[in-house]
């Protein structure tokens, strides 16, 4: 029986990808493929001073764990890590990290992609834009494309 490593965290501070991977793979010889997804704060127009990430404490972690367990089961993953930041995040900064580990590459790619598609639509986080001029902007609207990305896994 393979050991399955599941790590879920919601935190204000930044994360370090290599140390998160090391925590998942250290001392193991059964992992052949690790896929990571990092979501960053974009600001192509220079109109943004920061994104503010609000979350539902407790439920955010519980929902991420529920999705992670589905992904582990469906793709026979050996490990899954999901870290979501909250609070103010500057353009270029990290928002979310997902790491999926598996014996082979397709399962690792699918596991990470599935986790992100469901996290986007089900985990209780909300983004608000703060304008470059110090103005408080709008809450980001949910996208139909995200629902479609999720529904392709049915």
């Amino acid at each position: 029986m393979s050991k399955i490593t599941l790590t879920i965290r919601v935190q204000a501070q930044d994360f370090d990808l290599q140390s998160e991977i090391d925590a998942l793979t250290a001392g193991r010889k059964d992992i052949g493929a690790v896929v990571t997804f990092t979501g960053l704060c974009r600001d192509e127009q220079g109109a943004l001073s920061a994104l503010e990430l609000e979350h539902y404490p407790g439920m955010a972690e519980a929902e991420m764990r529920r999705i992670a367990e589905l992904a582990i089961e469906r793709f026979s993953l050996l490990g899954l890590t999901a870290v979501h930041r909250h609070g103010k995040i500057l353009p270029g900064g990290n928002i979310v990290l997902v790491i999926a580990a598996a014996p082979h590459r397709q399962a690792a790619f699918d596991g990470a992609s599935f986790m992100m598609d469901f996290l986007k639509t089900s985990a209780p986080f909300w983004k608000k834009e703060h304008g470059a001029g110090g103005t408080t902007g709008d809450w980001v609207a949910a996208k139909d494309a995200d629902d479609k990305a999720r529904d392709k896994w049915r």
Binding site: G39, M59, E63, V96, T121, P124, W126, K127, W139, A142
Partner: protein, 85 residues
């Protein structure tokens, strides 16, 4: 008996508070009944819950549909569609 309601994102901003304990009348049975009841509590609730079809609800921190009964709920979360990730 009261129920704890928690609000997030623009629902929280429009209602003007992050949470409250309220007593619910006996005829508030489902999530849909709850949203309609809240809409009657004042302009700020009306403004927040104007389009109940877009509002998401969690009972005891689990997503539920609007036809779910709320009996036994310790905490009910009310919020817009999620935009994390």
């Amino acid at each position: 008996m009261t129920t704890k309601l928690v609000y997030f994102a623009w629902v929280r901003e429009r209602i003007g508070k992050p949470e409250e304990e309220i007593a619910l009348p006996a005829d508030v049975v489902t999530v849909r009944d709850l949203l309609n009841h809240l809409k009657g509590l004042g302009e700020e609730y009306e403004n927040a819950l104007q389009y109940p079809e877009v509002i998401r609800v969690a009972i005891n921190q689990e997503h539920v549909e609007h036809n779910e009964p709320i009996a036994g709920a310790r905490e009910i979360g009310i919020f817009p569609p999620m935009t994390g990730g």
